[in-house]
């Protein structure tokens, strides 16, 4: 059977659509299958609409501190419906943007739900079309980019119902801001929603099972974030186990156990943000013999699944569940298929949390480095000693650098403070280029900027800090 396409990508999130564009750039006849909306969770229900909400929250919160800047305004208020509407509009604009990109690159968009059947040279893709009917398409290469979704625990009530219990998805389009919100899970998703609803005045309590919030971050950053959020009025139960969530007309009751003591938290709404599971169901993967471990497709480092012609990239292949990692994986995968020698396979992947204050990091934490037996040199610099931060009234937070003491390689960087998510790529670039302390110390950072704290943190690791 002649192939209909060179490449079919299943799923149009940031992994899938970027892979499709790169595929088209490489001259492959490409199609993309999407069951819901172009752009996937990231554009429609994740990264982007949450940033729109957080921006509204930040502006509103700033209005509460106008006095610090010699300004005043009366009748600070928000229209929750308009805040949500703006977030949806932003998502809609980007969704249309992806449609434009598909058209520009002559990528055929097949709207429907795909499943795979045995085929050669790659599995056959059978799409149950949104418009009705089925369409079977054969390609030389099939790339799975079906993504992931929120993990739930129905047995203890941690399951969304759209009313009292939300996942990120319901939390993006509520009718009103809850008066009392309980967030289960303190990863990036949980913390961002906690930060947003707190900015609008909700009473927020965050429950974390592990010993500290933002558990993937450096311990010092977790501790600083904990303090900063508490100052904003967010309450924490850390570490605490959720025993049972019970819903009633009035709200939710969450029974927890913390430090051997039982407690019941009352709230209007609970958000479940306790992890991610891969979208591996109903695709026909078992019949093809695709290896799946803990809801994720097992691949080699090029994305190959072991089934001829079938690859997988992004969230469906496992953590870190990040849009930019999915895009990076996808480009790497398709370039490999094209016979190029893609570079940057092991490029470090930065992670960002867009709360107030923001958190951003790349590479190893100090503890991870030490656990690997690496002798480290650590530098720190607080924003309260940075001129621009003082002028901007953003003195919370710091920059921390971790160097390999033996070679001087930058192996990790951790930041908390205003706009640090816009700065972390400086360290990511340094690590990708395999910079040592010498290059970071010799780089000229513009004055006055908050990025000078990055320079100072690199100097501090070698006892050369200038401004403290």
């Amino acid at each position: 059977m002649a192939e209909d396409f060179d490449v079919i990508v299943i799923g149009s999130g940031p992994g899938g659509y970027v892979t499709a564009i790169r595929s088209a750039q490489l001259g492959f006849k490409t199609a993309i299958v999407e069951r819901e909306a172009l752009g996937g969770v990231c554009l429609n229900w994740g990264c982007i609409p949450t940033k729109a909400l957080l921006r509204s929250g930040d502006v509103y919160e700033q209005l509460g501190h106008l006095g610090d800047f010699g300004l005043s305004a009366e009748n600070r208020a928000y229209d929750f419906g308009k805040v949500i509407a703006r977030s949806r509009k932003v998502a809609g604009q980007l969704n249309a943007g992806v449609g434009f990109l598909m058209k520009k690159h002559r990528i055929e968009v097949i709207e429907g739900t795909a499943r795979l059947e045995k085929g050669a040279p790659a599995p056959k893709v059978v799409v149950a079309l949104k418009a009705g009917g089925e369409r079977a398409v054969q390609a030389r290469h099939v790339i799975l980019a079906t993504g992931a979704r929120a993990r739930t625990f129905p047995e203890i009530g941690l399951e969304p119902d759209g009313e009292r219990v939300w996942t990120y998805r319901e939390a993006l389009v509520p009718k009103s801001a809850p008066k009392a919100l309980i967030v289960v899970g303190s990863g990036a998703i949980g913390i961002e929603f906690a930060s947003f609803f707190r900015a609008l005045g909700s009473e927020v309590t965050v429950i974390e099972m592990l010993p500290r919030i933002l558990p993937v971050e450096d311990e010092e950053v977790s501790a600083a974030a904990h303090k900063a959020f508490e100052r904003r009025g967010i309450r924490f139960r850390v570490p605490a186990n959720v025993k049972q969530l019970t819903r009633s007309k009035a709200g939710v009751a969450v029974e927890i156990e913390a430090g051997g003591k039982a407690e019941t938290l009352q709230g209007e709404v609970a958000i479940v943000a306790v992890g991610i599971v891969g979208n591996v169901e109903a695709l026909g993967l078992e019949a093809l013999g695709v290896k799946i471990e803990r809801t994720h497709v097992v691949t080699d480092e090029t994305g190959a699944t072991g089934v001829a012609g079938l690859y997988a990239i992004g969230d469906v292949t496992g953590p870190p569940w990040l849009a930019h990692k999915a895009s990076h994986d996808g480009v790497h995968c398709i370039e490999h298929i094209a016979g190029l020698k893609p570079t940057g396979l092991h490029a470090p992947i930065p992670g960002c949390t867009y709360s107030n204050p923001q958190v951003a990091s790349v590479g190893l934490t100090e503890a991870q480095a030490k656990a690997k037996g690496i002798e480290v040199k650590v530098g720190r610099f607080p924003f309260r000693a940075n001129g621009k931060a003082i002028a901007a009234g953003e003195t919370d937070g710091f920059v921390k650098t971790v160097f390999d003491a033996g070679t001087g390689a930058l192996i990790g960087a951790h930041m908390i403070g205003a706009e640090v998510t816009e700065m972390i790529q400086g360290f990511a670039l340094a690590m990708t280029l395999e910079a040592t302390e010498a290059e970071l110390q010799a780089t000229v950072f513009p004055h006055p900027t908050m990025s000078e704290a990055m320079h100072e943190a690199a100097l501090d690791a070698y006892g050369r800090v200038l401004h403290i």
Binding site: G97, G344, T407
Partner: protein, 448 residues
Amino acid sequence: MSIDVLMPALSPTMEEGTLAKWHVKKGDQVKSGDVIAEIETDKATMEVEAVDEGTVEDLLVPEGAEGVKVNTPIAKLSGEGETAAPPPKPSPSTVAKTTGEGDREAVEGAQPAQRAVPAPPPSTAPTPPAQAGEAQRNGERIFASPLARRIAEQKGIDLSSIRGSGPHGRIVKADVEGAQPAATKAPPARAPGAQPQPAPISAPGPRQVLSLEQQGIAPGSYDLIPLDGMRKTVARRMTDSFRDVPHFPLTIDLEIDALLAARAKINALLEPEGVKVSVNDMVIKAAAVALKRVPEANASYTPEGIAMHHHADVAMAVAVPHGLITPIIREAEGKGLAEIARESKDLAERARNRKLKPEEYLGGTFSVSNLGMFGVTSFSSIINEPQGAIMSVGVGEKRPVARGDQLAVATVMSVTLTCDHRVVDGATGARFLAAFRRLIEDPITMIV
């Protein structure tokens, strides 16, 4: 004087865009920096600012228009406030356009120079080790990451002896971590042109393939055809065979006047049946019979032992669009010429249409490749594994031959046998060729 406002390229790769919104209408006054339109590109809608002052004379593209090509006029401004001194000053948009073209010319002009002075391909053997950590190779910069330099310095590794695996051949951490420090100090300076020393690289890794750009071929100067399955198979099988099979060629010249005469007779006989026997069919038949007479040449090397094939299954190389394939005449030693002719014609036709079944091209014991029709005199093919030998047939042409002390003219065809030395030694190959010669030069013996 009116000025064209052109569709801007908002990214280097942008070819066209959608005019999402006009912020001005006919008759509006605009000044430099005013937002006049929104262009939808990729993830964002971008604003277009006026670069000149004037009155909007006309909007040439309606709002919402898709696929507006970069550099096509989208609006006209009348340039008020400009002094209309002759010769008219070129408008900024015209200037921009001209600059764009100038740039392109400049780039194109630069390319031949780039081609003329290609970067020295890093695949050339490395020069004698210079001082450790020194960033020079024949006076040229060595591209290495800061961390790679640091580690090389700490371990006493000479960067010039290392081939980089990073982008554009850059030496990265992984390249130096596996490398061993040079055992001795740099050897005494060598005269230019002396044999280069092998690089002290610890273990031979997988072959590094440099990009064309690294080898001095400018991007954009060629079209890239993706490798299809056949091209990949040919590339892999031929590379493996040429590298791993110890092969050698044996060449002989054959007089084929008798063969051609026999062929004419046979074809006259077969004409009513619509069958035409080619020289290649006769070569296949003769090779098959010769293989039966010298069975050592009809063999395959395996780690367990030498497989002596019971039949001569002769594969014939057929050129097809973008590749080649080798369909097989099974048990050719027992088939008549007419049968071989019919079969080879059918197989070749179906090969060109890619209609062969795998069992029709997998598993031959010997191959024949014929480039005589292209006028090739002689050549030596690459062994088609696991076969023990392959025959390359050149053109049959009139050549001077010595008969005793007299010079005569005969139709001569050169034939080269490439042998897998693990199964077919020189003498075995020579005996096979001798048997083959008897059959070709006295074709009646084929029938016996």
